[in-house]
Subunit: 397 residues, 2 copies
């Protein structure tokens, strides 16, 4: 008697999560060191020592009833102020605590925003390839995902198709930069162009079209590129942020929403976000972790390993004949699947004990995603397997 | 452009949460010690020392990448096994890790269960008075709450009305024992009678009717009463549990679902619960807190204060002329509102700087809820105000 919708979701499953489980089983069978699991965005670099120090210090010095107790559904006021101050320093914004809603990770943040703005039948634009969970976050509220097909030369925004697909029912667009699964960063030029289009359409249709920026990878940038901060370019923008990657705390579920003053009906929107956070069952972001991230400011995990992994993998794989757009950020690359059939290639990779995810999971069929948030060892030990796969598929012929 | 549904919810607000905010403001104005805030179920007794010790020990001795990292969406296997073992010891059940899904508190648990079983239009029975958030958890999935009016003599189950209100669309009933807001514990006799009725209706209608037991107060029992464990009486039962009250960790959002093997389509249901936990945006229960509660077993906060508060308040208030059913558990009492108009009474109480919540918030108009999870001092200092209110309303005339 589970709902037909859930039955379908269970049958479809999450390819990534299934691989995570499969990876665990393979690791038990062959030994963890003999399985090269590039399937999940689970950071391999430890949290900075400051996380542990902050926890110890909070537990020793802050009143425990406050540290573990209820607070306003939007989070502790001082924590929200710390988040606002930190963003202001980096983005030149002038946020205060009232612009910040602490959430159960970025996944929580996106669901809270969706609950607030999406009515059944509302359309939400997704630029492919994209993180497949967005489909569920939209469907949770009976919204309709409208997929813009990839712009294959550099995985930027496919403007001609995007413009065609905006309708009077378009309520929002989710943008993920740096991007999972491609590692692309949308350029300032593209962001300005996108915002101009959305602004014109808002005017034409007489209602708000929201830009929702999902930014868990904001701090992971390889070439010093600028990652434009969307609220600086567009009035009706939300930002969803997570500490999962920056502080290597994905299990702790801690993040926030930025709701700028420029939002249509700002007061009403923030009140609604607070209610949504409560009634969806989050209630509030985990309290101790709120207090931890507030203390950490710009401290982050040592993310040089992602840069090193990217460099080695990009150089080796392209030298073997794999074709790909060089990632600019995040910890993913999205090469063309040898042979063209992404699912078949990912199956073939398993024979080399390499776990990678078919691009179709990200609305990018014909490609595969490689999450390189793994140890240097895993990268190096996996290379011979990637080479054999390249030979098998005659990539150099 | 927030949705009309959200606009309504914002306008309606949470009376309890609004009072929490009001209490903060009053505390700033009059000094915290001069405001008697009985509005929120925020435990006043500190977490046991073992919580802090467990956190320190975990951070010193368990691998930090595991402690803060992703795990299966249902939670760490060893944590789930610890939960199962603990329940088995107390309830004589034979659960294993596969019967446990770790969740973001009981609110998360209930939403995950709703997502799994509720289709639009499905009816969910609620025995009034009940925790008002259930209405939102049902409405999140376009279910329809069907309210059974209170059985006023002892706030047990109103069987004649319940039987009338079961229809072919009835999919579930949420039961909360010990009860918020009444402090009632449903007797074994009543549970057996309820299960017989539901079982007969399942047969008649040819589909599962689920009993969902919301049990955050299971450990808070005053007279040594037995709190029947629903899965021992009914096949299609879920339990939602939270450590918010037992360990005084309401801000940390840690709890679990029990899904017994006896559920219809057990395997499919557990798979669906896991997917629901992921796609609703919880992803997984906060990881460090999972590891903490797994270590604590039966350790709990010192809850004798609730017993003492209850005794003093019950004796004093009844001596002043307030009428109420004596609470058997949880940390709430639900007296008749002097004058009959609960909202008016709660406003009048504010003049005594006493914050209590109107019964209508719990589908129990004409009553008020008093959350006595406060300090002994607060209880004692509030008594003169309660006495003056009693005199004002001529309760003894």
């Amino acid at each position: 008697m589970i709902t037909p919708k859930m039955k379908q979701l269970v049958a479809g499953g999450s390819v990534i999560r299934a691989m995570f489980e499969e990876g665990r089983i393979m690791a038990e069978k062959f030994g963890a060191e003999n399985v090269y699991d590039f399937s999940l965005g689970n950071p391999n670099t430890p949290p900075p020592a400051a996380v542990k120090e902050a926890i110890f210090d909070i537990l020793e010095n802050e009143p425990e009833m406050m540290v573990h107790g209820y607070m306003s559904n939007v989070g502790y006021e001082d924590v929200r102020k710390a988040m606002a101050d930190n963003i202001n320093r980096k983005q030149g914004t002038s946020y205060t605590a009232r612009n910040i809603i602490m959430t159960v990770g970025a996944a929580g943040a996106l669901n809270v925003v969706m609950k607030t703005i999406i009515e059944p039948g509302d359309e939400v634009l997704l630029q492919a390839p994209f993180f497949g969970e967005y489909l569920n976050y939209i469907s949770n509220f009976d919204g309709k995902a409208v997929i813009v097909s990839p712009e294959y030369t550099n995985f930027s925004i496919n403007f001609p198709e995007l413009e065609q697909k905006i309708t009077p029912k378009t309520k929002a667009m989710i943008l993920n930069t740096p991007n999972n699964p491609t590692g692309a960063i949308y350029s300032e030029q593209d962001i300005i162009r996108l915002c101009d289009i959305l602004r014109a359409k808002q005017k034409e249709y007489g209602h708000a079209i929201y830009l929702i920026s999902d930014e868990p990878y904001r701090e992971i940038v390889f070439g010093g590129q600028n990652v434009p901060y969307l609220p600086c370019y567009y009035e009706n923008a939300f930002v969803g942020y997570s500490y999962s990657k920056t502080l290597s705390l994905p299990g702790e579920r801690i993040g926030y929403i930025v709701a700028p003053d420029s939002l249509e009906d700002f007061e009403g929107t923030v009140a609604a976000l607070s209610v949504a956070n409560r009634i969806l069952g989050f209630v509030n972001a985990p309290s101790l972790m709120q207090r931890v991230v507030a203390r950490l400011g710009d401290i982050s995990s040592d993310m040089t390993i992602y840069q090193e992994n990217k460099k080695e993998l990009y150089e080796a794989l392209t030298s073997y004949g794999y074709e790909m757009v060089e990632p600019q950020g995040a910890f993913y690359m999205f090469p063309k699947a040898p042979g063209g059939d992404d699912k078949a290639f990912c199956e073939a990779a398993k024979e080399e004990r390499i776990l990678v995810v078919p691009g179709s999971t990200f609305a990018g069929p014909g490609y595969f995603r490689l999450a390189f948030c793994v140890s240097r060892q895993t990268v190096q030990n996996a290379l011979p397997g990637f080479k054999r796969l390249a030979e098998k598929y005659h990539l150099k012929d």
